[in-house]
């Protein structure tokens, strides 16, 4: 992508704002369907981030699997388990404040670590093509991942069956 640096910056900030705002809204809203919607925005923006990093394959997977697959599941399950317009119960204000404190404290500790750490300067290099990714996923050499790939496929299959088994009516 040959975007101008400025434009790139602008897009990044846009995505960043969307992510930050939507993730906070997703965890604070009392309407669960809205939360799912906010999550959708977050996921899509994340895909945008991946595109910005030139990981187009990852971005596509993100949109296809997360935004396309998982979120649909969420929406279905929300519709199955709650009535329209119903607000979810929340914990007491005290607990929420405590949670907030914990989250902020965690964030502060992490941020401190991140900002004090000296990151190495690395030269930018050419990005691997989708070809390479494909080879890596089904190759058997070093830095190639056929076994995990197959394991994940079996896992997914097992999940499909398992999910059906668990969720079916008895």
């Amino acid at each position: 992508m040959e975007l101008l640096p400025l434009a790139q910056q602008a897009i990044f900030y846009l995505l960043a704002i969307v992510i930050v705002v939507c993730s906070i809204l997703a965890v604070t809203t009392r309407r669960i369907l809205r939360a799912a919607t906010y999550l959708l925005f977050v996921l899509l923006s994340t895909a945008g981030i991946y595109f910005m990093l030139d990981y187009t394959f990852l971005g596509s997977v993100q949109i296809a699997v997360y935004a396309g697959g998982i979120l649909v599941l969420f929406v279905f399950s929300i519709l199955l388990t709650s009535k329209p317009g119903e607000c979810t119960e929340e914990k007491s204000i005290k607990q929420r404040i405590l949670g907030l404190v914990a989250a902020i404290a965690g964030a502060a500790v992490c941020a401190y670590a991140l900002f004090t750490y000296k990151w190495p300067e690395i030269e930018t290099q050419e990005i691997q093509s989708i070809n390479d990714i494909g080879h890596a996923l089904i190759g058997m050499d070093k830095f190639q991942y056929l076994l995990p790939f197959e394991a994940v496929s079996v896992l997914l299959l097992a999940c499909i069956i398992g999910a059906i088994m668990i969720a079916r009516k008895r």
Binding site: P5, V20, S23, I32, T46, Q62, G69, L80, G162
Partner: protein, 103 residues
């Protein structure tokens, strides 16, 4: 590539702790699941970002993200199946009500 790496990481940091906050303050299990998704997503971003900025010639991070996404999908499917099953049993999906397996 003018946007420095740290920007991305801070972004994922915010997302992650938003997830943490959601996880510990919401009663509804679906909401907790959504929070988990947020956290997972934040981690995925980190993988990708570290790969992109620190090990540009390789693709372990990205592949990890792909697997993480796949596993998240699997996990969500199972979790939602379980939640639906629980809902059938107790017409409610509040985590507080689910402590039969304690001890």
């Amino acid at each position: 590539m003018e946007t420095p790496m740290i920007y991305y990481i801070v972004l994922s940091l915010v997302m992650f702790f938003a997830g943490v906050y959601g996880f510990i303050t919401r009663k509804n299990m679906l909401m907790m699941l959504i929070s988990i998704e947020l956290m997972l997503n934040a981690v995925d971003i980190n993988f990708a970002v570290f790969n992109r900025f620190l090990f540009p010639g390789q693709m372990e991070g990205m592949i990890f993200s792909i697997f993480a996404i796949a596993i998240a999908a699997a996990e969500t499917a199972i979790a939602i199946a379980i939640i639906i099953n629980i809902y059938r049993h107790i017409s409610n999906i509040d985590a507080d009500n689910l402590d039969d397996m304690k001890y």
